[in-house]
Amino acid sequence: MSQFWKAWEKRKASLRAAVLDQHANKSMESVPDTILSSSLEENIALLEKQLGKSDDLVVRRFTVKNGTEAAILFIDGMVDRNVVSEYIIRFMTSTSVTYEKTAVNELESTDRLRQTIRNILSGNAVLVLEGQNKVFLNNTRGWERRGVEEPKTESVVRGPRDGFAETLCVNSALIRSRLKDPNLRLKHFVVGQRTQTDIYVTYIEGIAHPPIVQEICRRIEHINIDAILESGYIEQMIQDSRWSPFPQIQNTERPDKVVANLLEGKVAILVDGTPFALVAPAVFSQFYQSPEDYYERFYIATFIRMIRGASMIIALLLPSLYIAFSSFHPEMIPSRLVIAMAAGRSTVPFPSVMEALIMEVAIEILREASVRLPGPIGPTIGIVGALVVGEAAVSAGLVSPVMVIIVALTTIGSFATPSYSAAIAIRMLRFPLMLLAGMFGLYGIMLFIIIILVHLSSLKSFGVPYMTPVSPINLAAMRDMVIRMPFKWLKRRPTMFHPQDEIRKEGRQ
């Protein structure tokens, strides 16, 4: 039995690998990695041929002051035209200095075709000279990009207002500008056979646990996919358990959050083309933390964390508790309230499970609709949906008034979670919980909670148990995770990420 199983697994893996190998040849590797010739025309023809005579490829020929024929090749729209014309063409046509001294930064040369193509495609201008069997790569990247704006998904009352943008170098600069540590390391990877997406694995050497960094790099190198359009692709390719509804890697738009996590010994992954950076390893409790917790005084921060915990419990349990109490254990509701609830329910034609399911699905639809709608209309839909439909449903006798309160509280509770991906997991788990509550009452709720807890305990994120610091218990880390102690007591970094340098600061406050 087990032999068979193993063989089957092996075969499937080899098939998968074979398919991916085939795909891999189609993209950049299809470009022959030949050495360029010394003829200008030949090189231009070669490059044009490889790019399929694409119409946005600009080939601008000119003569250098010393008489050499030259051409500059770039993709229209991806380069800063000002730089190309002012600093390369005009400079080279008017002065007789050698080409190595153009004013553009990052001037490199190569004689490889594949590297040349890759540079053209990533927005660099390629200078080809007659008689040289190599080309010069100029960093002229300058396409239209969104500037640094306030993060949309993680807003804070107090705290920096800048968020990541879609450009990798901007994002890494945002981190660098906050963390002037010479030990900050950015490791470059290129992932995706067709998209050739740039990725930075960022960590602080001397704090981050080297095996964790190595493991992350190893997993990124093993990614075999044709396109990376968002960091979510990376997240799903390198996470530990793909069956889990819970996010095992944190994503954030906030540079301050990334820096704080780097300082705890975690590793950040920046992906070109998305404002969402990934932070790994992640533990469950950090999805209920916000950078603001550290900007406010500790009483307030601790209190707010408790509120968040309560709202998570409300979002997960409230509808199923309502079902359990009203249809299984009415003796637990105070007598006066039970009569009022029975009166409210007397016209409702469905059992309370159905009532709750219908209302919860409705509210999920409303939520999704208001996310998709253009900005100004979103809130309107919320008002129409929540107020008008809710009120009408109650007066039509379709749902009981208590149910409307429950649904509203549940939804608001789920929005109090700072992390969208954790909130959506909780919202999803609500539904099986409601079904089980409709079958076994409180007993069913507890069954499912135990299943969730077993699952959470079995999860690991890059070797760090997901439920730390609750289990395995880590009292030192609890100071910073569950509650927030004053900085005076936060002298050590949380040990569960195995930081090499445990001391955060020396001496007295």
Binding site: F440, K460, G463
Partner: protein, 387 residues
């Protein structure tokens, strides 16, 4: 998955984890009837029974810890053949140790089945009266199987995380009911003859059974953690909880009333009224939270059972998963075997006696043989025996 998972720090149990495994295995359905069973013979002094009865448990857990310390990293299944046959006669050792291992597995099997049956019985009588008993039992087994699908370190973490969830409701109920205490109920301190008291305490000692799973789980302790310490902490906490709940039962009800109710702890919950709490009758909530306590008892026992089988047959994780699913079927039939509540309590009492003897005799014999062998070897070679 990655090499990180193989970090030895992650796959071993800390002191606290072992403590919580022991305590949460011990605290299960027994506590629901404990105030009645202890006062049956000891009358007002019933709360002394857990304390006296625990002496036994302390002794056995010490034996188990000592055995495990002698064979670090090995479970009972692995070291029993070594004890019986030494390294030279491994085949003989295997056959000699087989009966002990089989008895161990058998006891785990029956007690797991009966525990889930009793819990099903409570749920069906007190909360879900129209739900078939079988459904409750099966749902409990589903949870146990779900845990068995995971690695061993998950078990430790689950116990750790459920530990407060088990302790909190009992402590809450006990302390809340002290408000209604009638302290004259525990007087006179001892009126029964000493012999009866000892018999009564001995009967209580079977409410401590469950620690025998540490024959397996002590093998996975961190190298330097005190196993004896963990065992003593674990049993100590259980003794504290047991004593507290029996004391609460006696001072609130008096022993006469305790004899009349089937589930005294549940009745204790019924009399508890928390001012300012929105909810009125807490017994359904208590039973729901108590699922966690019963789950840890059933699932830990079942996990130990499956893991022993896996080691006995020298199989891997896949076998564990398949076996845990397959074995549920006979387990279920054992669980529904007793016909009524009286029969169940008879089985529990019988099982209690047997478990106590087996869990004492088996480690004791192993320990004695080991002492004998060690002595022989020492005189022979003057060198340390197998480590």
């Amino acid at each position: 998955m990655g090499q990180l998972g193989k970090d030895p720090q992650h796959n071993t149990f800390s002191l606290w984890q072992m403590t919580s495994i022991i305590t949460s295995t011990l605290i299960g359905v027994g506590i629901l009837t404990l105030p009645r069973t202890t006062t049956e013979k000891m009358l007002e002094a019933g709360w002394l029974a857990p304390i006296l009865g625990s002496i036994f448990a302390f002794f056995v857990i010490w034996l188990i810890a000592v055995l495990s310390r002698r064979f670090p990293g090995l479970t009972f299944i692995q070291y029993s053949p070594i004890v019986w046959g030494g390294h030279e006669h491994s085949r003989l050792g295997f056959w000699l140790s087989l009966p002990w291992i089989l008895i161990f597995i058998g006891v785990l099997f029956v007690s797991t089945a009966i525990t889930s049956r009793i819990f099903g019985e409570v749920v069906v009588t007190a909360v879900l009266q129209d739900t078939p008993l079988e459904v409750i039992i099966v749902s409990m087994f589903v949870l146990a199987v779900f845990l068995c699908l995971h690695e061993l370190d998950t078990l430790a973490r689950v116990n750790e995380i459920l530990f407060p969830l088990i302790l909190f409701p009992v402590l809450f109920i006990a302390f809340a009911s002290f408000q209604k205490a009638e302290w004259n109920n525990i007087l006179p301190l001892i009126r029964v003859p000493l012999k009866t008291a000892i018999m009564g305490s001995f009967e209580t000692s079977y409410s401590f059974h469950g620690y025998e799973i540490m024959l397996i789980f002590f093998a996975f302790a961190h190298g330097d953690t005190g196993k004896v310490k963990a065992g003593f902490y674990g049993i100590g906490i259980s003794v504290f909880v047991y004593t507290l709940i029996v004391l609460a039962g006696i001072v609130v009800f008096g022993y006469e009333e305790l004899q009349k109710v089937t589930w005294p702890t549940l009745e204790l919950v019924k009399t508890t009224q928390v001012p300012g709490l929105i909810l009125e009758r807490l017994e359904s909530a208590f039973l729901a939270v108590w699922v966690a306590a019963v789950f840890t008892t059933v699932a830990n026992g079942y996990y130990a059972l499956i893991y022993s089988l896996r080691q006995l047959l020298k199989k891997g994780m896949l076998f564990q998963r398949i076996a845990s699913i397959v074995l549920v079927i006979p387990l279920f039939f054992v669980a529904i075997r007793p016909q009524n509540i009286v029969e169940i309590f008879n089985v529990t009492t019988f099982l209690g006696y047997t478990t106590v003897w087996i869990s004492v005799v088996s480690p004791l014999i192993h320990w004695l043989i080991m002492l004998y062998r060690d002595r022989g070897r020492r005189t022979e070679k003057r060198s340390d025996a197998h480590g």
